[in-house]
Amino acid sequence: MNVVLMQHALLLAMILFALGTIGVLMRRNLIVMLMSVEIMLNAAGLAFIAAGSRWGQADGQVMFILILAMAAAEVAVGLALILRLYQRLGTLDADAADQMRG
């Protein structure tokens, strides 16, 4: 019988989420920012799994699957957009795309 405190699992999820947030806010490279967003999504999925495991139901895993599908679609489109941005700006600097300023 595996006894893992749900609190601890949720704590792990939150730490990962916080690390992902730091990554999004701190790094200027577009790809690293996207990766940080993936970290955040993964952490959210972990939270769901932990909650599902606490009740012993499969709902947590179902939510995780949906989150996974969404993350996949998002990464695909996001990377395509990054490719386009790179073509236009010639750099992967997120701060270079500031034409909406003012």
């Binding site: 806010l25 920012m33 997120a94 701060d95 500031d98 300023r101």
Partner: protein
């Protein structure tokens, strides 16, 4: 039939509304029909009403509806017909009709044809409202209406900024008078409780003793309004500049009708002036001073229309003189004859100016006697009437009556008579100066074009009236036809009855006046037709030239007002641009501008910043959820 009274001002106002709404899109023939036709209908109605009135000369009031009803003040849209308003209405309607007909041809080439007739109709409507109003507030409405139309029509050719300046000057100067008049209305209302003219006069006699402060204040304030509108001292500076407008406008507004509104006002409220002797005397003194001042100024003008403008100021000075000595009906008589001969003079001057290609300088004209015969004879008849040459013209009878009444007025009388007499001399000189310079001598500028029937008919009609209109009031020693003063008796009290044995004095005074007029013609003939060398030398001497320049600029009044009033005001306005109230409001504006700049700094376009914003927001939200 008398109930048609309310329609008389209504038709020109209707014409104005129609022309305003169609805004120049109608064909020219329709515009002419509406513009001239509305005034024509008004004139016909005026005739019908006056004919009915003459059968039974009782004052008639028609109240169309109650305009305002507020705590004791209930002015009506009401019309009051008696001898005074009836006569003025008839004169205004007919002279307006003739001038509208003249304008149909005179202004036919102008691009603002529809606008012109719209404004002219509005003017005629407002003037008729002013004359026929039964209460002072409605009269003030008409007063302001004619002031507005004067502004619109002086600045008719608005593309030239000088015309706009002249229009603004006219408006501002008359505004000074209008403000005084408004304050006068306030004084009258707060003390007597009504603005209805007839009951106002009755209440004034009952409540106010002669010579007390209140009637003096009210009369003086109303006099201020009259001075502004009638271009008397000290508010006369706007009328010469008002000649910037088209000539029919000058004829109608600034000669025959609007400028006589002040005379009408004083005649209407004559009871107040009887109750305030100092103000009554002031009216006469102002009239006398103005007629002299304007006479001297007219001597030295080179612009044909400015001569006529100063002449108008001078002649209204005569009317004020008559009002001031208590000769109310004499003033109205002079108004009537003046309307005819001054309109005639302006219209014929208009023909001259237009046919010479807008040339206004009389010294560039000459010998037009054969070239423009109609204009010549019209102008000559008008000049004869203006100069009041003996017996043959209308001006003689009216001016003579005024001089006679002035002589009989107590201690100040002979001085006023002398001023009037000298003014008559100046009048004859300056108007025949114009006649001789423009119509005699060698031809300097050839006229072009033709004069049609629409110009000819008004000139002919006005010429007949300028000669014949005086025969309604012939003095006793010539035939004794006191028709006019008897007619006006019902509305205006007669001047003090002449003492017996004074008829010989009257004949002598009339003879002197007649001689003076003929003398003036002779002086003008010698100075400007024969031009002897000695007189030329005198005229061209430096002292004389300086004096002439002084007179030409209207005795320096424009210079005085500019230095004393206009410049300090402009300086103060400039200095006041940044005062603390303005600072507060512009401070608000610059504060919001600074806040905007700060806020727009936050829109950096950088994704990370926005993500940080989202994170911070979510933190706050969660905190609210968790801790609250």
């Amino acid at each position: 039939m008398l109930s048609l009274l309310a329609f008389i001002p209504a038709f020109p106002l209707l014409g104005f509304a129609m022309l305003l709404m169609t805004a120049g899109l109608l064909p020219k023939r329709w515009i002419t029909t509406i513009g001239v036709g509305s005034v024509g209908i008004a004139a016909i109605l005026a005739l019908i009403v006056m004919a009915t009135f003459l059968n039974s000369p009782e004052p008639y009031t028609e109240i169309v509806w109650t305009w305002i009803a507020v705590s004791g003040l209930t002015p009506h849209i009401g019309f009051y017909l008696d001898a005074l308003s009836g006569l003025m209405m008839l004169v205004v309607a007919f002279v307006s009709l003739l001038i509208h007909l003249y304008s149909a041809e005179f202004m036919s080439a102008d691009e603002g044809y529809s606008r012109y007739f719209a404004y002219m109709n509005l003017f005629v409507g407002s003037m008729l409202v002013l004359i026929l109003a039964d209460n002072l507030l409605f009269l003030y409405l008409g007063w302001e209406g004619v002031g507005l139309c004067s502004y619109l029509l002086i600045g008719f050719w608005y593309r030239d900024p000088a015309n706009g300046l002249a229009a603004r000057k006219a408006f501002v100067v008359t505004r000074v008078g209008d403000t005084a008049m408004a304050i006068g209305l306030f004084v009258l209302f707060t003390n007597l409780g009504t603005l209805d003219i007839q009951s106002l006069m009755q209440q004034a006699v009952v409540h106010w003793p002669v010579g007390s402060v209140l009637p003096i204040a009210a009369a003086a304030l109303l006099l201020g309004g009259a001075i502004g509108k009638s271009a008397q001292l000290p508010l006369q500076t706007w009328l010469p500049d008002a000649m910037a407008g088209p000539t029919p406008v000058s004829a109608l507004i600034h000669a025959a009708t609007m400028v006589t509104a002040g005379v009408y006002l004083i005649a209407r409220t004559h009871v107040l002036y009887d109750l305030a002797p100092p103000v009554h005397t002031a009216v006469a003194v102002i009239g006398a001073l103005t007629l002299l001042l304007a006479g001297f100024s007219a001597l030295n003008q080179t612009d044909l229309k400015r001569i006529l403008a100063y002449s108008t100021i001078s002649q209204i000075g005569y009317m004020f003189l008559a009002l001031g000595v208590g000769a109310w009906s004499a003033a109205i008589f002079h108004f009537m004859t003046h309307a005819f001969f001054k309109a005639l003079l302006f219209l014929s001057a208009g023909v001259v100016v237009q046919r010479l290609g807008e040339e206004h300088d009389i010294f560039k004209m000459g010998g037009l006697r054969q070239r423009l015969p109609l204009a010549f004879w019209s102008f000559l008849i008008g000049s004869i009437s203006l100069a009041a040459l003996p017996l043959i013209d209308a001006g003689f009878y009216s001016k003579d009556l005024i001089l006679w009444e002035a002589w009989s007025d107590g201690a100040l009388g002979p001085w006023l008579w002398a001023a009037g007499l000298f003014g008559a001399l100046l009048t004859a000189i300056y108007i025949f100066r114009a006649v001789f310079v423009v119509f005699f001598g060698p031809v300097k500028l050839e006229p072009a074009g033709l004069t049609g029937w629409r110009i000819a008919i008004p000139l002919v009609v006005l010429s007949i009236l300028a000669l014949a209109a005086g025969f309604v009031e012939i003095p006793p020693y010539l035939g004794n036809v006191p028709a006019f003063s008897q007619f006006m008796q019902s509305a205006l009290p007669a001047p003090p009855a002449p003492v017996s044995g004074e008829s010989s004095l009257q004949i002598m005074l009339s003879a002197i006046a007649g001689l003076v007029a003929v003398l003036g013609v002779g002086v003008a003939y010698i100075a400007f037709r024969q031009r002897p060398a000695s007189l030329e030398a005198l005229i061209q001497s430096p002292a004389s030239l300086a004096l002439q320049h002084f007179w030409e600029t209207g005795w320096g009044f424009d210079w005085l007002y500019d230095r004393a009033l206009v410049r300090p005001f402009l300086w103060f306005a400039r200095v006041d641009q940044g005062d603390f109230i303005d600072r507060f409001y512009s401070g608000l504006a610059s504060l919001s501008r600074a806040a905007y700049r700060q806020l727009s700094e936050s829109e950096t376009g950088r994704v990370r910043r926005y993500a940080a914003g989202i994170t911070a927001g979510s933190i706050v939200l969660i905190a609210i959820l968790v801790f609250a």
